[in-house]
Symmetry: C2
Subunit: 259 residues, 2 copies
């Protein structure tokens, strides 16, 4: 928890209150903060800033001199479509995608998604995992998360309007690597070639990053899924030649967006 | 488990045997493999290949027609020096660094490493976590892992000979980004500039990647540590502006080595 995020309702003028167990425990045990200390806080969906601890009880921490003057960091211009993973890893995946600044997350069914995953109580706790990711990365703006229980109708009917931008599906058995994909995009986008020839590695890379990425869960995508995505213009690419666990893959792939 | 790795002692001519509980359970429950089926196997430290299941009992699986003809994937030319993390996350970190192909891992003490972490029984199970990482990523060669309980003597006495190559310390508050670092390296290495001007993003990037990376655990490095590393020529860089959990950071950072 690198900042404490509070909903708008907890603010009043230049004071605010903290009343969730996890946040109070963090301030008490990890930060060991006392009355008069300054805290890094933020308003969910709003700005970041600081406040001074005025009063502490086991159930409530009162803050004064709230100053919310710093805008949250920008989001990545990116939609991640993730095959719904095992409930056990869902928490960390949502946390990490949130922390990395993904703007839109779509949890989708896939051939290798077990039906029981859709019944998991973890799906009712997404807001909690998002809050953890925001407080980790010092951001206030939650990603939009939606659930798509049917793969084919989504790909055939809803993906097309989204895909006006570049789309890829991460697939360890693809013929094209991520960096080859970026080079191809550079070649077919002549008006951006000037950037490419002047600048070095990083800056030209961002100019050709896809805005939609499909990432499989354990076992990845089956050929049918990769082929259906290809009919909609979604290119299969691999990143590295090794097969990674879903969590590692998500961070490795999204790390390509960071400079 | 994308392959089953066995020690050399389990092979005899063109037959082999599997006798560990986790591997037998995986073959039985996840793969649902039967007598006559082919398995993807490998010899620890040796080659990868296939074998046919000859006989299955609850404690032992006999394999025939063992063919080990494929060399394991290359290792990254990279030493990761990781501040010893909480035991709870050590397993996944070792798995992931192994899966990504790191050649050398040094677990080191840091100001924010709690003393109790060095007493954890998890440190006695590193071989097990390495095996998981190798079987995940279909590799056979374990990274070398060493423990360094004293930060200052290691940095002052042992780092210097290692650091003949480029070294960085990941630090969210660094003034220089990872991509700026790569650009700087390109400028001070004139003989490689030809690569830079001809090629696009990815290829020139690999030419200037550091071979030693220091990664902190929760709370990162303190200023003293970053400064001590700087005296030995280790450059502080940030990757992205957001603070990530250790596991996410390790995968994001090492993902920069993949193409």
């Amino acid at each position: 928890m690198n900042c404490i995020l509070l909903p708008a309702a907890n603010f009043s003028g230049d004071s605010a209150q903290i009343n969730t167990v996890a946040q109070i425990a963090h301030i008490d045990k990890v930060l060991a903060a006392k009355v008069g200390d300054s805290l890094k806080i933020g308003q969910l969906g709003g700005n970041l800033g600081t406040a001074i601890i005025e009063h502490i009880t086991p159930e409530n921490i009162q803050l004064r001199d709230v100053q919310l003057t710093m805008a949250p960091p920008p989001k990545l211009d990116l939609t991640v479509v993730l095959a719904l993973p095992r409930p056990k890893v869902l928490r960390r995946l949502i946390m990490d995608m949130t922390a990395l600044g993904v703007r839109d997350i779509i949890l989708i069914n896939s051939y290798r998604t077990q039906k029981s995953y859709w019944q998991s109580p973890m799906l009712g706790r997404l807001d909690e995992f998002v809050l953890e990711g925001l407080q980790q990365s010092v951001d206030t703006v939650a990603p939009r998360i939606s659930l798509q229980k049917r793969f084919k109708p989504f790909v055939e009917d809803e993906l097309a309007p989204l895909i006006s931008n570049r789309a890829i599906v991460a697939h360890p058995y693809a013929a094209l690597s991520f960096s080859q994909y970026l080079q191809q995009q550079a070649l077919v986008t002549p008006e951006k070639n000037e950037i490419l020839s002047v600048d070095s590695s990083s800056s030209n890379k961002t100019a050709f990053l896809p805005s939609i990425v499909f990432i499989g869960a354990e076992g990845g995508w089956i050929d049918y899924e990769v082929e259906l995505l290809a009919t909609q213009g979604c290119q299969a690419v691999y990143i590295g030649q090794r097969i990674l666990r879903t969590e590692a893959a998500v961070n490795v792939i999204l790390g390509q967006w960071l400079l």
